[in-house]
């Protein structure tokens, strides 16, 4: 068996509005579109994902919250209807997905060996969270690549940003070892929004884009600063700034997916490709890609 490797990582945020705007058959509500720049960004990301031909997609979602440890989906086939508790008017999605249980178990074991509390989720009636589903739908609507779903332990909220993100760093390197040892060709998905202050009311027509703009100028400036650094491959600087970004922009990267992904990739100082940026009820969302073959050349 060849040593597995991480082919790429994507920043792949999960506003359910993007699924709603696309009108896939799996989602009940119908829209007249909306959030096109972000949806088109995902179209470009989909094309690039196709080129990697990965065996598996690993996704870390902030909306599967587990207080006791980091959990991994561990049932081969999961299906059901996922209704977003915050935007049930927009997202009522019938999902069916296949889990790479062997890799999930390897991730879980590596995380335990690294000192983290880790657990497999074996309940076949488990309802997969809307963050996981939205990210996966937006990056690969065919649902034909097995996945590994990872919960958010929310340690950065419980322990504090720095200490909590250190755990995500450990989880990331554990994930890399698991990918390597199982011989998988893997793509990582960090399901995170950037600045996360949002409007408290929805427009009467949710997809009325005349109502969509950044919630606040400071958050927008933060997003542009972070994206520009990422585009230039200045990863180290981003991680130095991350706690301040989180505090000042209420950035959702606090939940850990972004740190997990970069840790698994070895924090490469390579340029990220920005597929697009847009706001969703005022929050800042970027779809970005890091091609790890560039890291090998760097």
């Amino acid at each position: 068996m060849d040593t597995g490797k991480i082919l790429a990582g994507f920043l792949a945020p999960h506003p359910p509005h993007l699924v709603y705007g696309e009108n896939p058959p799996q989602n009940e509500p119908r829209s007249k579109g909306g959030w096109e720049p972000l949806r088109w960004a995902y179209e470009r990301a989909r094309e690039n994902l196709e080129k990697y031909k990965p065996d598996v997609l690993l996704v870390h979602s902030p909306h599967w919250v587990t207080q006791q440890g980091h959990h991994f989906l561990g049932v081969q086939n999961l299906c059901g209807k996922s209704v977003d508790p915050i935007f049930p008017n927009l997202f009522r999605y019938s999902f069916e997905l296949n889990v790479d249980v062997e890799l999930a178990e390897a991730c879980c074991e590596e995380a335990s060996a690294a000192g983290l509390t880790a657990k497999m989720m074996r309940n076949p009636e488990f309802r997969v969270d809307y963050g996981t589903i939205t990210t996966l739908h937006m990056i690969r609507p065919q649902w034909d690549i097995p996945i590994v779903g990872i919960s958010a332990n929310n340690s950065p909220y419980y322990l504090g940003t720095r200490e909590g993100l250190e755990e995500m760093d450990i989880l990331g390197s554990a994930t890399r070892r698991a990918v390597e040892n199982t011989g998988r060709r893997a793509v990582l998905l960090a399901s995170n929004t950037l600045c996360h202050y949002h409007f408290s009311e929805e427009p009467a027509v949710p997809e009325d884009m005349s109502q969509e703009h950044p919630h606040d100028y400071e958050g927008y400036l933060w997003d542009m600063r972070v994206i520009e650094l990422l585009r230039r491959g200045r990863t180290n600087e981003v991680f130095e700034l991350l706690p301040q970004f989180i505090d000042e922009a209420f950035a959702e990267v606090k939940s850990g997916a972004f740190t997990w992904m970069f840790s698994a990739m070895g924090y490469p100082n390579i340029p990220g490709e920005l597929h697009g940026y847009g706001t969703v009820i005022g929050t800042g969302n970027a779809v970005m890609e890091w091609d790890m073959s560039a890291a090998a050349l760097a």
Partner: protein
């Protein structure tokens, strides 16, 4: 019926009614952890399960027309949400305690009362929204509370915890429910679902070893419970900011605000049926004597 208008923390204006004909016939504060339900055979959670069942007996004896459930675990962000589907039923797997199986639920919703609350909420400066969707995820806390306290299968009003609502707004929503029930000439039981001290064990523990996370949290919980039991609602409410500092209870202890508001900030005394740990966090089954 006397009516006075009070200014309330600058966030909203609400109307306080001094009533003789109370609509609230019983009121409870209970924890939302599923452990007493799905691991109720294990000490120390068995004692919590027994206390929850005892609270259910008391609730049944007050024979309400409907039961109002406010759960801190139903997180809302945009509006105050109210369940308005006639019947909500399903099977729920807790996102953290999935290994312990499935929670089944089947609740008839008091749509009439929920709709009145939605319609009236603008009077307290709150925007409300109806939730009527097949497959909407009912939160663990609501399901657990319904399973223990609503064994008489009464219709329920289920409402959310908007994370941006402060204590005062939450109190006013509790008041609004009681007022709406009164206008419909309904007797209601009020069940506020939420925990005491919020620190929990992040690692796996042996259930028998469960305890409140630290002595400091334990003593803050006991002080809060003593004040609640004294029957001096104002005094207990006044301690909440300090309690929040000391014990970081779930959601700033807004669940107590909801039940206090529903009771018009008045009850004769309260009884703690049980107080104990739920994986390090604090939980108590409290019955308010109205």
């Amino acid at each position: 019926m006397a009516l006075e208008t009070l200014s309330w923390s600058g966030t909203c204006r609400l109307q306080r009614w001094h009533e003789i004909d109370m609509s609230v016939v019983s009121a409870f504060l209970v924890p939302g952890s599923p452990l007493p339900r799905i691991q109720g055979g294990n000490p120390p959670w068995d004692a919590m399960a027994k206390a929850l069942s005892a609270a259910g007996d008391v609730l049944a004896s007050t024979d309400p027309d409907s039961i109002v459930v406010y759960s801190t675990q139903w997180i809302a962000v945009l509006d105050q949400l109210w369940q308005t589907r006639e019947q909500v039923a399903g099977r729920h797997v807790d996102e953290n305690w999935h290994e312990f199986g499935v929670l089944e639920y089947d609740m008839a919703i008091d749509v009439e009362l929920a709709t009145a609350c939605i319609e009236e909420s603008s009077s307290i400066g709150v925007k409300s929204k109806a939730v009527n969707y097949d497959g909407f995820p009912i939160d663990t806390g609501t399901i657990v509370a319904d399973s223990f306290l609503n064994r008489i299968r009464k219709p329920v009003v289920v409402t959310s915890n908007n994370v941006y609502h402060d204590m005062a707004v939450t109190e006013s929503i509790g008041q609004l429910v009681a007022k709406s029930a009164r206008e419909q000439r309904k007797d209601i039981a009020v069940v506020a679902v939420g925990g005491l001290s919020g620190a929990f064990f992040r690692q796996e523990i042996i259930p028998e070893d469960d305890r409140i996370f630290s002595e400091a949290y334990d003593s803050a919980n006991r002080k809060m419970l003593d004040l609640i039991c004294s029957g001096n609602c104002q005094k207990a409410m006044a301690f909440v900011p300090e309690y929040n500092e000391q014990a970081s209870p779930e959601m700033g202890f807004k669940h107590f605000g909801f039940v206090s508001g529903a009771l018009g900030h008045k009850y004769s005394k309260a009884e703690v049926h049980h107080y104990g740990p739920l994986y390090g966090s604090g939980g108590a089954v409290i019955e308010f004597q109205v």
